[in-house]
Symmetry: C2
Subunit: 411 residues, 2 copies
């Protein structure tokens, strides 16, 4: 039996696992620090109380149930011992491999902005999304309980990519609806949502006309969109801009970009300047014959030499390719180059508004894009129960104009 | 406007609020330490990953939305200033009242058993239930990851009342199904579930024949039921019995009874020996003319002088009575005595098995009792969305033989 170890059960790792699981002579061990897979694209809805945490988390063991030769192990990788083909986990155990597929993903990148790591909130993990939800509603509760009508409830969202746009849109809806209905004592005007983007347009991964549409939609929903606006520092009181202006805010959401964690750099693999692991055309780590790297973590290039985006689709495709390469190697066949097929990308702005840019140049906005977004995300979610639950929450949300599960859990 | 302050948004407090809300000349302030109401009867299902936390939590402000003269304030009461008719909250604010209704409920009672408070887990709050879930699955993950086939996965449940019986039954099902399907590497025999009851039968609030049925059903599902078995101490390694026997266990669930918290004793109200607040026939606190006490917190007597049970039904009834008394007093009318109407009680054991004892002596067991239990709890849940979500989870659970949201959240 060939032993394949997959580290990370995100889109990439699970895609590799699925592609490998059919092979009778391959035994797979999946390792993840959580016992569940997180559906990251919907975390911003957990953060804004549109969905419950359980809706976007799927138990990994339930996934593996039908796979006979797949094991799961909860743990954190801390060392790769290439000379003996094992990895070490934080709890001291060693796991042997014939082929290793690294798919630990990326983490929030604060780009060294002072205070950003300490005083802003990321929404890259389920815990982080839940923390944001708790913070938003604790802030509303505090202001309402103390009768501070002019209390500053401003939220600053840093970064106008898909995550930032989706978060700002959801916050604007929350502010409109939740304040109106649940906190009538508070002044919605005090609950500003400010979206900051360093470049000259939002959603730079999309065509300029879609950026323009997103900007206009966000503004019509009450979001203050500020382009060409870089953040110099974050403090407990808000964000300071490059030109010295200070925006007082009770909450700063950091969605300016992703990077590679220190723990991964400590593994000693070759890294590009942006931290992503250097890989060859066949998705193998540079200089290694049996270690693959996929998904957000990998510095995989498109055929024109540019790095492919750190999104679900590329992760799924690189995962499947790495799996194919492992099979090829076990059969003594040569590896082949990964070819990225861009299927397009989507971002939602809010109720009845989204943008989608599909391969072939088809561009959608408004209601149609929104419905396409809903359908695609519902289909990609893991597990029938989660799909039904999300569908229920979304329908409820739509009909009731945004009555979400606004509970402050924990702490 | 008459100011009524209700502290605690459980069954009792919300019942009082609903009964008062129709009165045009009464302004209500509801105070709770959480911003959501917890549906306690289903917490054991959150603990055993049958339901998600959000399913049993309902945002209080969403409840109040249609009530014009009801305010909510998140906070903890720490002092009652009877001379000036105000209460002080922990954050330093004072809230004035004309009438005060105390409905803070009870807490877990460890009866002074050494180690119990430190080394056993209660399932009385949402956070506690989630902590139990995390502990159960972390224990399974740990054992599975380390390949310790004979790892001790025993859970001891202390107390054979309704909560203990429901918890033991759910754990037994979890063990049967989850270990079989999600953790095939673990030995189900090592995952004992031991239910300890100090008295000579389970469910002492029910008829002996129902106790016998519950015992037999639990045993047939693999629970070790031990009657006449008192716990002397709890340690990190398990429970020590009165006769010196030690049961090695990785998890001890404490469901032996409820008591009144120290924080409430510090309020200086007259208390019975069991800690419950002394109240008169009209549910007013002994010696006070404008402070009421209801629900689990109140030492309310039945017409025959025995204390009424600390359950949802009595809380709802005392809450409604206190509200009626407040209205009577504002109109200069005399108060009247509370009369408890015992509608019966229910407990579920597991799939297709429950016991119900209704007023009038009707006793149900098995499938019929189980369906009655499901229907009643579904109907009493707050909020249409929560009801649909629980219904979805239950149906899913039933069809899929127990695939629950087995995710370890947080920490």
């Amino acid at each position: 039996m060939t032993k394949v170890v997959i580290v990370g059960a995100g889109f990439g790792g699970l895609s590799a696992m699925n592609a490998l699981a059919e092979n009778l002579d391959i035994e797979i061990t999946v390792i993840d620090k959580h016992n569940f897979a997180t559906f990251q694209p919907l975390l911003y809805q957990v953060a804004t109380a549109g969905l419950n945490p359980g809706d976007v988390a799927f138990p990994i063991r339930t996934l593996l149930r039908r796979q006979k030769r797949v094991n799961f192990r909860q743990g954190l990788i801390c060392e790769i011992n290439e000379n003996e083909n094992t990895i070490s986990l934080l709890d001291g155990e060693k796991v042997p491999y014939d082929y290793l597929i690294l798919a630990m993903g990326a983490t929030t990148n604060y780009f060294g902005v002072p205070g950003a790591a300490d005083y802003s909130q990321a929404i890259y993990t389920l815990d982080e999304a839940l923390a944001v939800r708790n913070k938003v509603f604790s802030m509303f509760e505090w202001a309402a309980s103390h009768g501070v009508k002019d209390f500053n409830l401003t939220t600053v969202v840093v970064g106008g990519g898909a995550t930032g746009v989706e978060m700002a849109g959801a916050l604007a809806e929350l502010k409109l609806r939740a304040l109106q209905t649940d906190y009538p004592a508070l002044d919605p005007a005090a609950a500003r949502v400010v979206l900051l983007e360093a470049q000259d347009r939002l959603l730079t991964a999309f065509s300029p006309e879609l950026s323009k549409y997103a900007s206009a939609e966000l503004k019509s929903r009450g979001v203050e969109v500020r382009l060409n606006t870089a953040v110099k520092a974050v403090s407990p009181n808000g964000a300071e801009l490059a030109d010295g202006e200070k925006i007082e805010a009770n909450l700063v959401i950091w969605s300016a970009g992703v990077g590679i964690s220190k723990e991964i750099s400590a593994l000693g693999l070759p890294q590009l300047r942006n931290g992503r692991i250097e890989v060859g055309e066949d998705t193998r780590v540079k200089g290694s014959h049996n270690i693959f790297c996929i998904g957000d973590l990998a510095g995989t290039s498109d055929s024109d030499g540019t790095l492919i985006p750190q999104l679900a689709q590329p992760a799924i495709q690189t995962g499947a390719h790495a799996a194919k390469m492992v099979v090829a190697l076990t059969k003594g066949r040569p590896t082949s180059a990964f070819v990225y097929r861009d299927k397009g990308t989507m971002a939602t702005i809010g109720r009845n508004a989204a943008v989608a840019e599909l391969s072939g140049g088809l561009k959608l906005t408004g209601n149609l894009a929104w419905i396409a977004w809903l359908a695609l995300h519902l289909m990609t979610l893991l597990g029938v129960r989660n799909r039904l639950s999300v569908l229920l929450n979304w329908s409820w949300h739509y009909i009731s104009w945004g009555r979400g599960p606004r509970v402050i859990l924990g702490g």
